[in-house]
Structure formats: C-alpha cells, structure tokens
Symmetry: C2
Subunit: 227 residues, 2 copies
C-alpha cells in the first residue's frame, strides 16, 4: 500500500548538502504495522514526511495505493492527505487556541461529518487514550504526554487507511505508551489500516509486525517481530 | 541543596481545580543525581517548574541552598536562575532564529563571558553531544533528537550547580540517550552539581543515584539505585 523506490532527500544549506535519505527502497503492505528505528538524525522524520506528502523527494518515487504521488498537484495531495493519511507529528502540532476536544474534532469538521457522529467519535477516542477528564484543557493546560495523546487521538479520529506516527510514545511512561500503541494496532486491524511508526523504544517496536532499521539515511536491515 | 516542604500546586480553570501536586516533601543533596519517574500527568513537570522558579506553588515551601525561594522577588529569582540553574525543557524552547551554536552560546552572552572562552565552551559541549556537524543549523533544520541535544548543551554550558532536566532523552535512541545522561552525570560529578531528571525510561533512571516515584501528585516511594 506504500512503496518507495530509490528515494533520496538532500537538504541544501548554502553550499552544504545534507543527504538525509539515500536510495531508500521500502514496501509496506495493507494491514501491516511497521516500526522504523534508528539513531537520532538517521532520517526517520524525513522518510515519514515524504511518505505523508508533507515534503517532496529530491529524487526517487513514492507510491500510495499504486498511485505515484510525486507527480500529483498540491490540490490532489491535500485531498489524498485528508482522505487517507493520519499523522502523529514528533512535536504534535496541536492548535494552541483549541481545547483537546476541539483539536481532535477538527479533521471531522473538515470532512463534513455530522455533529452527533462527531461527538461520539471524539469522545470515544479521548476516552481510549485516557483523556476523558482533560477534554476542555487547551494544550498549554496539558502535560507533555497528555498533549501527545491528543495528537494520537486526532490522527485516528478520521479512520485513515494509513497512519504515520513519528515517535508516538516519546513523552509517555511505559504503561501509557504500550496502551496507545496497542490501541493503534487494534484500530488498524479492525479497519485493515496500515501503520508506519517511528520509535526509539525497543518495547514499542516489538509490537509491530516488522521492524526496519535506518542508519545515515539508508535502510540497513529489517526483521519480522517474533510474536 | 534542594528541599520542598508540603509543596502543593493547584491549577484552576473556571470552577474546576486540578491538584497537580499534593504535599510533596523532597530532599535532594549536593552532588546527587535523582530521577523522578511517574505516569503521564502525575505532576513531574509541575514539580520541576516549581523548583526551577518558573512557577509559584499554591502552598508549601521550597529551599534552594537553604534560601526560601517562595519569598523572593522576581528580580532575585531571575538572578538565581541565571547563576545556579540549568533547565532542559520537555519541549526544548530553543530560539528559532538562532543556530544551534548561538542557542548554546546565549547563557554565556547573558553572563558576560568573554568571546574566546565562550567559543571554547560552546564548541566543547556541542562536540560532547555529537553535534559538531550541526552547529550552524537552526532548530527547524535539525531532527527532533538533535534539537533535544542542543537544549541539553545549552543547559550545561554555564556550569549550573543545579541541573533540572525534563525528559532529556524523550526523542533520543537508546545509545544517544545513555550517552547524554552519562555526560550529565560526569559533568555534575566534576563540578559537584546536582541533577534532578524527570524520565520515563527505566534504563535512564537506573543511572541516577536515587529514583523518586510520583503518582497523582504525590511521592509514593523511592529507592536507591543499585550500582
Ligand atoms: N495550566 C494548567 N491548567 C490546568 N491543568 C494543568 C495545567 N498544567 C498541567 N495541568 C494538569 O496537571 C497535571 C500534571 O501536569 P504535569 O505537566 O506536571 O504532568 P507530567 O507528570 O509532567 O506529565 P507528562 O509525563 O505527560 O509530561 C496534568 O494532569 C495536567 O493535565
Ligand atoms: N531543513 C533541514 N536542513 C538541513 N538539514 C536538515 C533539515 N532537516 C533535517 N536535517 C538533517 O537531516 C538529518 C535527518 O533528519 P531527521 O529529522 O529525518 O532525523 P530523525 O531520524 O527523525 O532523527 P530524530 O530521531 O532525532 O528525530 C538530520 O541529521 C538533520 O540534521
Ligand atoms: Mg525525528
Ligand atoms: Mg511533563
């Protein structure tokens, strides 16, 4: 459902070139949960941003459900993102003036979901991540891990077929982290969605079906999880 | 060197009251590295912000080097922070328009350190956290973990006697995380500084001399580390 071919990304800063991704070839199948692990600076966020159409490759191809997204217009990409992709950002990107509830509701408002159904889905997701008592808090009235859980709920509320999660448990204790990732896995299995999850936590990566290893912008190996 | 007595913090939102800290009694000794662990939302950041004078308690006392900081003026608190406290924030708070180098240099500029010595100390710290090749990058040109390491270097550059680190390895892979915390410990031992470190990572908490457990705003236990 997601495929990259010889994917490269070079950041240019004046005369300096940073080769963040070098010929990355990756296949992720429908219903799979894949973990991407690697040292700080190895290119994980860059990879996720390219797959999520938030940035453009320097060279190489990216296919989502068989369509080459490198040839799409901005308008087509925006529609694709809205319909198919749920993104948990490394730094959440919550809207500061909206409450937790309103932040999670936003994708449903954009998709035109009717009020009663919106309310049910937002409440259900906030309960599932343990934030039923924090719905009316704005981001600056939430702890780091609570903000992270709002970001996760927001990414899942629209039932996207592809979930891209950049370090979804970085600010969570072990128990809460395992809970949200098990939740993502459960929802993905129910909907036959695909999850690509960047993580530094070995315990979290073990929940995935397959673990892909990145180093200095290259895939250096992968293995199936043993459960 | 740090002592809290019956420390309480209540956040008020309209008619709602959130009791984030409830009668916290804590003693931290000079040269000690203490880890504070607990579930998301248990009050760790609140505790660190109170000790770091970034926020005021609702009731209770906080002593730093024997001085009651709850009775100090804003001016006195600012001087205290500048002289004694180095803070690694849960969300870094780097200055977006400054490079990594300039962000780390800032505390030294504020303290009036001469140019040659500033340059030596900034470079040394950035090398120690593995960012010698990223000195001229601004925060938006850095990966999450690279930004976190800039924040750590900045907190350490002024040789503060009290280092408060809020989840300093949340965006770092295991190897890099262990490296920076071993670095903090080494520098603290050399300077006889004190480190209070909030962390969700059991491996990181094991590096500390003592681990304090927080739950629902209360200290529920502690134990010495076994090394
Ligand atoms: N400004 C605020 N107004 C209301 N409630 C707040 C405010 N700031 C924090 N809280 C609440 O206080 C509690 C403690 O917050 P704190 O940030 O100290 O938790 P934490 O232990 O650091 O959590 P995490 O591990 O998720 O970072 C949380 O439940 C949070 O929702
Ligand atoms: N806009 C940019 N300009 C220049 N270099 C960049 C830019 N963005 C990222 N980089 C560099 O590209 C490399 C890969 O960055 P990326 O954010 O993908 O790493 P990462 O694997 O997500 O790291 P982390 O685990 O620390 O979040 C890093 O070394 C970073 O310094
Ligand atoms: Mg990243
Ligand atoms: Mg916190």
């Amino acid at each position: 459902v997601v495929e990259t071919i010889d994917l490269c990304k070079v950041y240019r800063m004046g005369l300096t070139e940073i080769h963040a991704l070098k010929n990355v070839n990756l296949k992720v199948y429908r219903g799979e949960m894949v973990a991407v692990v690697g040292p700080s600076g190895s290119g994980k966020t860059t990879l996720l941003n390219l797959i999520g159409t938030l940035d453009k490759p320097t060279s190489g191809k990216i296919y989502i459900d068989g369509e080459d997204i490198t040839t799409k217009s901005e308008k087509e990409l925006t529609l694709l993102r809205r319909r198919k992709i749920g993104f948990v950002f490394q730094f959440y990107n919550l809207i500061p003036v909206l409450t937790a509830y309103e932040n999670v509701e936003l994708p449903l408002l954009i998709s035109g979901v009717p009020k009663k159904e919106r309310e049910e889905r937002v409440r259900r997701l906030l309960e599932m991540v343990g934030l039923e008592d924090r719905m009316n808090h704005r981001p600056d009235e939430l702890s780091g891990g609570e903000q992270q859980r709002v970001a996760i709920a927001r990414a899942l509320v629209n039932n996207p077929s592809i979930i891209l999660a950049d370090e979804p448990t970085g600010d969570l204790d072990t128990e809460t982290g395992l809970m949200v990732v098990q939740l993502m896995r459960k929802l993905a299995k129910e909907e036959d969605s695909t999850v690509i999850m960047v993580t530094h936590d070995p315990q979290i990566s073990e929940i995935a079906d397959r673990i892909i290893y990145l180093r200095d912008g290259r895939i250096i190996g992968e293995h199936k999880s043993d459960d």
